[in-house]
C-alpha cells in the first residue's frame, strides 16, 4: 500500500527516496523464496512425515510418536544428550572464561594473536578436530604415552569411547563458540570500572565476581547457548569419540533414517532433538535477559 502511494505521489527528490526505500525490502524476496522452498517446506514435511506409522509413509497416525515416547530407553538418550551439553558448557566456561579475562589484559598485538588462535580451530573441519582427539586420547596416544612415561600408570587408560574423553574433546571443539561472544562483550566493558573497583579496595576476585561477571553475562549466556546447541548435536564427535556404546539422539536419528530407513521414527527423534535443545536454549536466553534486566533495574 505505502509503496503504491509513494509511487503515485512521486514528484520531488524526497518522495523518490521514500519510494526507493519502500521498495528495498523486495531485494530480500529471492532469499525468502529460497528459504521457503529449501528450508520451510522440508521442515514442515518432516513434521508431517512424523505422523505416519510405517516405513513406506502410507498410513497416517500417531504410532511413531507413541513408539518413540513409549520407550523408556529414549528418555535416557534424551537426558544423556542434554547432560552432555551441560557438561561441555561447564568445562568451556571454567577454562574459557579465564582465557577471556586474560585476553583483556594483553597488549593489542597479543590480543590479535590470541584471537587468531581462537578463530583458527573454528575454520578447521570438525572431522579434523575430532581426529586430533583420537590421536591424543588413543591407547597409544599422547596422554597415555606421557602418563606411562612418567610412571603414573602402568596400563594405558581407556579414554576413547568414554564420556570423559568425549567431554574433553568437545571442550576444545566448541571452545571458540564460547570465547568469541565472551571476548566481544568483555572488550566493550569500560576498563575504568575495574580500576575504580581496585581503587575502592576490592580484591581482584571481588572485582571479578561483583563487577566483571555480572556485566559480561550477555556474552556468557550467548556463549553457553552456542556451545550447548552445538555439542548436543555434534554427531561426528559423538560417534567417533563416544563410540557405539554411548548413545545420543543424533546417533538414533542417523540409525533410524540411514540404517533402518524408518523415516517417521527418525522424524520423531529429530523433532525431539529440536524441541529439547531449543527449549533449553530458550530458557537460557530468558534467564540471560532477566539477569540483564536485574542489572539495569
Amino acid at each position: 500500500m505505502t509503496v503504491t502511494l509513494a509511487a503515485a505521489s512521486e514528484t520531488g527528490g524526497g518522495s523518490l527516496r521514500r519510494y526507493l526505500k519502500a521498495q528495498e525490502w523486495q531485494l530480500a524476496l529471492p532469499l525468502a523464496l529460497a528459504f521457503a522452498a529449501l528450508f520451510f517446506a522440508p521442515l514442515m514435511l518432516l513434521v508431517g512425515v512424523s505422523f505416519f506409522n510405517d516405513e513406506k509413509i502410507s498410513q497416517p497416525g500417531f504410532a511413531s510418536w507413541v513408539k518413540f515416547f513409549g520407550d523408556a530407553f529414549n528418555y535416557k538418550v534424551i537426558a544423556d544428550t542434554l547432560l552432555l551439553g551441560v557438561k561441555t558448557v561447564a568445562t568451556t566456561v571454567v577454562i574459557g572464561y579465564p582465557l577471556a579475562l586474560v585476553y583483556l589484559d594483553l597488549s593489542a598485538r597479543l590480543q590479535k594473536a590470541l584471537l587468531f588462535m581462537i578463530v583458527m580451530p573454528l575454520l578447521l573441519s570438525v572431522v579434523v578436530r575430532t581426529f586430533a582427539w583420537i590421536v591424543v586420547l588413543g591407547r597409544e596416544g599422547v596422554v597415555n604415552s606421557v602418563l606411562m612415561g612418567l610412571g603414573v600408570i602402568s596400563e594405558p587408560l581407556k579414554l576413547l569411547q568414554t564420556e570423559l574423553g568425549l567431554v574433553i574433546s568437545l571442550t576444545q571443539i566448541e571452545m571458540p563458540l564460547m570465547l568469541l561472544p565472551l571476548i566481544s562483550v568483555m572488550s566493550r566493558l569500560d576498563p575504568n570500572l575495574r580500576d575504580a573497583s581496585a581503587a575502592l579496595g576490592a580484591s581482584r576476585w571481588r572485582t571479578l565476581f561483583t563487577v566483571i561477571l555480572p556485566l559480561s553475562t550477555p556474552g556468557l549466556v550467548a556463549g553457553c547457548l552456542l556451545v550447548f546447541a552445538s555439542s548436543t548435536t555434534a554427531f561426528i564427535s559423538q560417534t567417533v569419540i563416544g563410540g557405539v556404546r554411548l548413545i545420543y539422539l543424533p546417533l538414533v536419528i542417523w540409525q533410524q533414517s540411514l540404517v533402518v530407513y524408518h523415516w517417521p521414527l527418525a522424524a520423531v527423534a529429530s523433532l525431539a532433538l529440536v524441541v529439547s535443545v531449543l527449549s533449553v536454549v530458550a530458557a537460557l536466553s530468558w534467564l540471560g535477559r532477566r539477569s540483564g534486566g536485574y542489572l539495569h533495574g
Binding site: 521442515l43 579465564p98 581426529f131 580484591s203 554427531f235
Partner: protein, 273 residues
C-alpha cells in the same frame, strides 16, 4: 590487610592464569599433534611418531592410491564454490533490503535467515533428505549445493549486515542528491564500502560448506560424498594414517587462507564484533 590483599591477588593470578593456560594448551595442542603425527614413518597413529617422512603425504597425493579422496575433495570444492556464489548473491541482496529496515516483518525475516545457525544441522539434513526424496529427486551435487546454501547463509548475512549498518547514511544521501540513480549509488558507493564484509562472510560460508557434515551426511550418496564424510568413513573403519595427512593439508590451507583474509579484510575483528 595488605598481606591478605596480596595473597588473594596471587591466588587470582595462579587460578585464572593457570586455567587460561590450560585453555590455550587444549585449543592448540591437538592441532600441533596431528601435524606432527602426519609425518610418521610407521603404520600406526602413535605419539611420539616413529621417524620422520613424507610417506603418507606421497600416498595422499598419489592419484592412483588416493583416487577416492581426490574425488571427494573435488566434490567438496565444487559444492562450496557454488553454494558460496549463490549465497553471496542472495545474501547481499537480502542484506541490502533488510539491514536498514526497522519494520517487524524485516526483523522476523532476518531471524529466520539466521535460524540455521541454532537449528540442529542433523534435523535439517534429515528434513532435506525426506523432502527431496519424496519430490522424486535423486542425490546429486545440485541438491547438496541447495542444502549448503541454507546452512551457510547466516555467515554471509552476519558480516554483510554488520558492514551495511556501519555505513554512513550521509554518503547515500549525498550520492543521491548529486543525481546518482539508486543502482549507480549501489555500484559505486555501497558495494565498494561493504565489499570487505561480504568477502569475510563469503570466506566463512565457504569454510563452513567445506566442513559441513550433517547436511552432506543425508544428501550424499556413494558418488556425491564429500571429503569430511569420506574422512569420517576412514576414521570409523581402519584409522588410515592418510587421515592425518589430509588433516595436515586442511590445517595448512585453513591457516594460509585465514592469514590472507586477516590481512585483506580483518577477519578476526569482524568475528569478534
Amino acid at each position: 590487610m595488605g598481606r591478605r590483599r596480596s595473597f588473594t591477588d596471587i591466588s587470582y593470578g595462579l587460578v585464572i592464569g593457570g586455567l587460561a593456560l590450560l585453555a590455550v594448551v587444549i585449543i592448540v595442542a591437538p592441532v600441533i599433534i596431528v601435524l606432527t603425527t602426519s609425518f610418521t614413518e610407521g603404520q600406526a597413529l602413535k605419539f611420539p611418531p616413529k621417524g620422520f617422512s613424507f610417506t603418507w603425504y606421497e600416498q595422499l597425493f598419489d592419484p592412483a592410491k588416493s583416487r577416492q579422496i581426490h574425488r571427494t575433495a573435488g566434490n567438496s570444492l565444487e559444492i562450496a564454490c557454488f553454494s558460496t556464489l549463490f549465497g553471496v548473491i542472495l545474501g547481499t541482496l537480502a542484506s541490502l533490503g533488510l539491514a536498514r529496515n526497522r519494520a517487524t516483518m524485516a526483523r522476523v525475516a532476518d531471524s529466520i535467515f539466521m535460524s540455521p545457525l541454532v537449528l540442529p544441522g542433523i534435523t535439517f539434513g534429515l528434513a532435506a533428505l525426506v523432502y527431496f526424496s519424496l519430490l522424486g529427486f535423486r542425490p546429486s551435487l545440485d541438491l547438496m549445493i541447495a542444502g549448503h546454501l541454507i546452512v551457510t547463509m547466516p555467515f554471509i548475512l552476519r558480516t554483510t549486515t554488520a558492514s551495511l549498518s556501519q555505513l554512513d547514511p550521509a554518503l547515500l544521501d549525498s550520492s543521491q542528491s548529486l543525481g546518482a540513480s539508486w543502482f549507480y549509488t549501489l555500484r559505486r558507493v555501497i558495494l565498494p564500502l561493504i565489499a570487505p564484509g561480504i568477502a569475510a562472510g563469503a570466506f566463512l560460508a565457504f569454510m563452513a560448506s567445506i566442513d559441513n557434515v550433517p547436511v552432506s551426511l543425508f544428501l550424499s550418496n556413494a558418488r556425491t560424498d564429500t571429503l569430511p564424510i569420506r574422512m569420517w568413513g576412514m576414521m570409523e573403519s581402519t584409522l588410515d594414517v592418510r587421515v592425518a595427512a589430509v588433516s595436515g593439508v586442511l590445517i595448512a590451507s585453513a591457516f594460509v587462507l585465514m592469514l590472507v583474509m586477516e590481512w585483506t579484510v580483518g577477519l578476526t575483528r569482524r568475528m569478534r564484533d
